[in-house]
């Protein structure tokens, strides 16, 4: 789904362009739900306490791993909007260098009219998802050894 040759900023701009085709909130939400539906399925075995993002009403999991010098990620949620939000992050951040993920400018979420989901009090997990992904990216960026996040996350649990 993600094009490894494009940068985070390029992918974010493409998403903003896609969302700009809709002139009302309902169209944007329907598109967000579509993004969630198009997420590649996440194996149930990866849906563990270590990959679960806490702090939201719905269940949401983000699994991150290292692939050479890149960070890959998969995600899922039992709520469609939350899954769409996870899908947005994965579209932009999957298969990028951990350092770039850690420092990524995610203001595109505001630009596509989803600002209300960014609030840390919103209980939808987007804020927690971003915090968790950045924390994992920071650890991956610092560690020389390739590691899967289940090992990383257990120290964080």
């Amino acid at each position: 789904m993600s094009d490894a040759s494009s940068t985070i900023d390029e992918r974010a701009r493409a998403i903003v362009d896609d969302f700009s085709l809709f002139d009302d909130w309902m169209g944007r939400y329907e598109y967000l739900i579509e993004i969630g539906k198009k997420l590649p399925p996440m194996e149930d075995a990866l849906k563990t306490d270590a990959t679960r993002i806490h702090g939201c009403q719905s269940k949401v999991w983000i699994h991150t791993a290292r692939d050479q010098d890149r960070m890959t990620m998969q995600g899922d949620s039992d709520a469609m909007i939350t899954k769409g939000l996870a899908g947005l992050l994965i579209r932009v951040l999957d298969d990028q260098p951990p350092k770039a993920v850690r420092e990524a400018d995610l203001s595109f979420i505001d630009d596509i009219g989803m600002r209300e989901h960014l609030s840390s009090t919103r209980n939808n997990g987007l804020h927690s998802m971003i915090e968790q992904i950045r924390a994992r990216a920071a650890r991956l960026a610092e560690s020389a050894e390739p590691a899967s996040d289940s090992a990383v996350s257990s120290s964080n649990a």
């Binding site: 009403q57 039992d78 709520a79």
Partner: protein, 400 residues
């Protein structure tokens, strides 16, 4: 009636008129409450119970008048039995820490129902954990009513105390507290009632109920946040040790020892939330002056209409179908997550609550991740229900 509540008259997300259906979380405030609080700060602001000056005397009079208004509303025998707290949660913690904890020990039990709000579970759990006592759970039926036979058996075992809600916040069930208190008293069991959800909907007479303690919050009965009440029978309150130490609750202080003030001040340490108390007094008078029969008939009508309209929606299931209910409609969709529904309803201007409603044990019992909850107050109308039904139709179109 709606005209008296300014917060109802606004649009959200630029141009969508608000429909406020989250009254079980907090009610909106009538202009009389807002005006009374503004008047206190603008003209009477002063500390209470200690000043020799005119302003302090005026503030103290207003403060104690508010206590009397609350006592009148719940028919407390004396305003000394109205203790001001930060809210219903603090009231329940006060009883747990000063009444239960010093008396509990291994072998004692405290009973709570399976549908209590976390505020009426955790304080008792903490008291039990600290003393080696046991928390027992009064089971419920699937429709959201109490299993009375099981409750009778639990009470026959003579637990130390029963703590129960008057009305369920998640499902709206009105429990038969009066007859339950009678049964409990037959076994010598005192009863603490969490009245957070009843005050805005039902006339409450603590003497007729014969409640030992009755706790509630100001903000769920058209008053301000940050202020609540603990009512108790005089002898029980008078026997409580101080909860917090500080100013206002003492008689004389010396390094050799301190003697404490009489009720109610002994249980109200420090400068109180004066504006909150005065606002709550105004809210109590607002509620006391309502035509309760007319209000209840109106609220029952809106609830009945909501039940009929929601029950007619394919794929939607009402949760909590007791015959005795206040204005709470909890429901789930077969295949739409409550959070998804709540997010879209919000964009349509409909303020509902989704999630576990601080009743995780109840949700687990009902095997639900949470519900969508529309909770009504006296200012809601059938038009609000129509807007909700339109919104739910949109939700089903988007997620269907």
């Amino acid at each position: 009636m709606r005209g008296e509540f300014p917060a109802l008259h606004q649009s959200v997300y630029e141009d969508t008129p608000l429909v406020y259906l989250d009254n079980a979380a907090t009610t909106q405030k009538p202009q009389v409450v807002l005006d009374r609080m503004a008047r206190y700060y603008a003209h009477e602001n002063s500390n209470v119970h200690r000043g020799v000056h005119k302003l302090s005397q005026d503030a103290t009079d207003a403060f104690e008048d508010a206590r009397q208004s609350v006592a009148d509303l719940i028919n407390a025998p004396s305003s000394d039995q109205v203790i001001f707290t930060r809210g219903c949660t603090e009231s329940l913690n006060l009883v747990a820490q000063t009444f239960a904890r010093p008396q509990l020990g291994p072998g004692d039990t405290v009973v709570v129902t399976h549908m209590e709000h976390h505020s009426n579970i955790v304080p008792w759990q903490m008291a039990c954990e600290a003393t080696g006592a046991t928390l027992k759970v009064w089971p419920i039926h699937d429709d959201g009513t109490l299993d009375m036979e099981a409750g009778r058996q639990l009470l026959a075992e003579e637990p130390f105390l029963l703590a129960m809600g008057h009305v369920s916040n998640a499902l709206g069930t009105i429990h038969p507290v009066s007859s339950i208190i009678d049964i409990a008293h037959d076994h010598g069991v005192p009863v603490v009632v969490d009245g957070a959800q009843s005050m805005a909907h039902l006339p409450v007479d603590v003497q007729a109920l014969d409640a030992d303690f009755y706790a509630f919050s100001g903000h769920k009965m058209f008053g301000p946040t940050g202020i609540g009440v603990l009512y108790g029978k005089y002898d029980l309150l008078d026997g409580l040790p101080p909860y917090h130490g500080g100013g206002d609750m003492i008689d004389e202080v010396s390094f050799d020892g301190t003697t404490y003030a009489d009720l109610p001040h002994r249980l109200e340490a420090g400068t109180p939330h004066i504006a909150g108390v005065i606002g709550l007094g105004a809210a109590a008078r607002f509620v006391d002056d309502l035509d309760h029969e007319a209000v209840q008939a109106h609220e029952d009508g809106v609830l009945q209409y909501a039940h009929e309209q929601l029950a007619a929606i394919d794929g939607l299931r009402l949760v909590g179908t007791a015959s005795e209910k206040t204005s709470v409609c909890s429901f789930v969709f077969d295949d739409i997550h409550p959070y998804d529904a709540g997010t879209i309803l919000d964009r349509l201007g409909l303020a509902v609550r989704t999630g576990h409603h601080c009743t995780q044990p109840l949700m687990e019992r009902l095997d639900l991740p949470g519900t969508i909850r529309a909770s009504f107050a006296l200012y809601n109308t059938r038009k609000d229900v129509d807007r909700l039904v339109e919104g739910l139709d949109r939700v089903q179109t988007m997620f269907g």
